[in-house]
Symmetry: C2
Subunit: 482 residues, 2 copies
């Protein structure tokens, strides 16, 4: 894997993080310990869950955080910041604590995904990038996971670089798509940087470059006999594309004893064309020839194609995955949950809103996922105050915080903390898993969800409940805020 | 402006560009001169035109194109590429020609935006990045231009970094939004790299960090008396937010003789709240206090707010602009248009499709924009074969290539070539304009369009016509392809 050439992204922050930072400094609040939560409010595409991703890039960003002299000079020229603050930035590093949900974990609205405990300026400064990486990669991992599940075990490849929103949209997007379950990408640099397997064979221009389609196919088979996936829709799939491909396979691959090959369709009536192509290929003895399809696919079109009996082994998914086209925003927010007073006492903070959904859950918290020991299935997430513990030997009664009379008691369960420590006192204490491990972990964790949570239409709302203690603190703060 | 730290993006290419490249090399086609066009088929949001952007990043990419030893080693490990090809890549540089539509120009479906003339491998290799940068930045510039036009002269700021699709989505996205007409961004590094003016004041957390909202406001005004925009919706806009702001303005700014200040609303009923806030501010004598609004805005909500009489001076637009949420894909494609034979003769190529919209316009072409000399308005774009000229002294009859009986004759017009030479023989021959120039150029060029083309609902379809010669060549190729 290539050593990543790093762009210093410290200055990738909303300008108000800096004006606030200077303000905290001037107001003597720079050492005030603050707690911020990253959480989201709605699952894209009305899904039942999201897949968390982007933590590795957050770790790299935190480790690389620094203002160089050029940055300081740029800020000085704004005539807004005190020299004391600029000096402070010169020695700036992150000294706080971060807890996060591991990448690949299913996550649900309102629960803390990343929690930051740090002096006010530090916690504020990392807001923009923290949200950016978690929002972007969780968006794509969530979408990819939907598409992969729609393909019911068939291979899904990420093909979207050319329609991605910027270079990192392509590069990190391919990484997130792999976490969500894609087998590979077309994006070469994502392989080099992250080990996402890259592949690809030919575009229409290859076919057009030769005097005939047959010659284009034959040449390709000769050069890549073990990797011959031929694009058959440049002229006419059934009249010439598949027959020319079969001829090239017969003449080049058969004498070499090669049985594995492929064709790809990028346009037309995929259901009809792939069934006819399959028939022709099988009749010619090319039963191991894989059929790939790649034209504006998403989870719904894939579901529909399979319902119609399309014969597709590999789905190449482009713009609708790499931009999460149907809902291209993951709305993670970064909200103050608590501050510490001079004695280290944690004082919960709440953000009130006319919109009930926008009221935050106050305090430094700890979230548990409740797994049923008999089925292994995830039943609910349980958000507590940081110092609460869960007694797995006793029944646990949970209630819906928005309808407190709805109660359910769990027995024979395991309560697994959802977040892990990532930074402590500015030091990385988390061993970042390798990307294939994250993908496998994601698959296993999604398997712990009931099918009712995973369906696309009207999924069951997974329970995310508060402990009685946390609920009472929130109510108290709400009453006092009136 | 900061020296940009460059990530070598040569490997940001679809893997098939490399397998095809190696294939062309092995088939002896590497020196075959090819012509590729970038064009798009549909304007996002059913708009009447798009705004071209992303060329500067394409230029930087082309100038920086090279494979280093790590790249070569990575490719060797794939066991797909010949050593000859890997040696070729070691010395790889772009030696071809590129013509492009200048950034900020209104562009229309089917016309060439970027045209590449280069040896096959080179032209193929730059496909992915060329599409990525033009697609991404044109998408955001187009969306930003719609939003800016909806604001009818009021200031629009780009606030979306935290919801952008990756780091470059934020950074280049802010650049593109500025080209489209935004006055500035929240993204600090976009200011540092590209000179997009960055600004911002406070988040809700600033207000929550103090014992009272009033204290938070007062402290902010003391630190930034000339830049005091106070966020007034943390608790209750009209009951406490605006009154606390007025109190802080009165106590801190008034004694200093400062009249300019601002408040920002990020939630709630913007139409009602801003009218009430305006009334309170004016009654207190703060008539120069600007009101900013920033909650999930786009061109339609801005239009609607203004229709309702909302009193908003500055719109901060986030996720719906930085992701072009309503249609987050700009569908530019890169298609072979011609090749040269051994004698340098240009042989037009066409890509046929069952879908008529997907049939390409063959040949090396030159596009003219026809401006009416009396009004200065753009009337039509006229695509010709590369060696055709337009005689401005004679009447010019254009016809709709999809309805050839629809004809219109222009007199007293200027025919301005749409593309400019950017690279010739691998050398940059284009002076990249400064970003404010591009923004001004965009505004002036959008002004040359009739209002009927610019409206959001059912805009007039701007004419993009072919010369008779080009039309005949296309028909001939279509007939021969049957």
């Amino acid at each position: 894997m290539k050593t990543e050439e790093k762009l210093n992204l410290t200055m990738l922050c909303d300008f108000y993080e800096l004006t606030m930072g200077n303000g905290y400094f001037r107001a003597g609040l720079q050492d005030r310990i603050t707690y911020f939560d990253v959480f989201f409010r709605n699952v894209p595409d009305n899904g039942g869950f999201a897949v968390c991703a982007g933590l590795e890039q957050l770790v790299q960003y935190i480790q690389n955080l620094h203002f160089d002299e050029e940055d300081i000079a740029f800020l000085r020229d704004k005539h807004l910041f005190s020299e004391d603050f600029l000096s402070y930035l010169r020695d700036f590093r992150f000294t706080g604590d971060i807890w996060a949900v591991p990448e690949g974990t299913p996550i649900f609205p309102r629960e803390p995904v990343v929690t930051v405990r740090a002096p006010a300026i530090q916690a504020q400064l990392i807001e923009t990038f923290t949200l950016l990486t978690i929002n972007h990669q969780s968006l794509i991992a969530t979408k990819a996971n939907r598409i992969v599940r729609a393909a019911q075990g068939r291979t899904v490849l990420e093909f979207g670089s050319r329609r991605a929103q910027g270079t990192d949209g392509a590069i990190s997007g391919a990484r997130a798509a792999y976490i969500g379950g894609c087998a590979g990408t077309a994006c070469t640099i994502s392989d080099q940087l992250y080990g996402v397997p890259a592949g690809g064979t030919m575009a229409h221009s290859w076919v057009q470059m030769f005097d005939s389609q047959y010659e284009a196919f034959k040449t390709y088979c000769q050069i890549y006999p073990h990797n011959a996936t031929l694009l058959v829709d440049t002229y006419n799939v059934l009249k010439s594309g598949v027959p020319d491909a079969i001829r090239a396979f017969d003449e080049v691959l058969k004498p070499l004893g090669i049985r594995k090959c492929g064709i790809r369709l990028d346009s037309g009536d995929m259901a009809y064309l792939t069934q006819e192509a399959r028939r022709k290929l099988d009749a010619a003895g090319w039963t191991e020839c894989q059929i790939s399809a790649s034209n504006s696919l998403d989870e719904y079109i894939i579901q529909d194609l399979l319902l119609q009996g399309a014969k597709i082994d590999v789905f190449g998914v482009g713009e609708r995955m790499i931009t999460a086209r149907s809902e291209p925003v993951f709305g993670g927010v970064y909200k103050l949950a608590a501050v510490e007073d001079g004695d280290g006492k944690i004082i919960p903070k709440i953000k009130v809103s006319e919109n009930l959904d926008k009221i935050t859950i106050p305090h430094f918290k700890k979230t548990y996922r409740i797994f049923d020991n008999a089925t292994g299935k995830a039943e609910a997430d349980y958000i507590t105050v940081w110092d609460e513990t869960v007694d797995e030997s006793a029944p646990l009664e949970l209630f819906d915080p928005r309808a407190t009379w709805k109660r359910k008691t769990y027995t024979n369960f395991t309560a697994k903390p959802l977040q892990v420590p990532v930074f402590q006192g500015g030091e990385l204490v988390y061993q970042l898993p390798a990307l294939p491990e994250i993908q496998a972990y994601c698959r296993a964790q999604v398997d712990t969800l009931w099918d009712t949570v995973k369906r696309f239409e009207n999924p069951h709302t997974y329970y995310v409940d508060l402990s009685q203690k946390l609920f009472d603190i929130k109510q108290d703060l709400l009453c006092r805020s009136r």
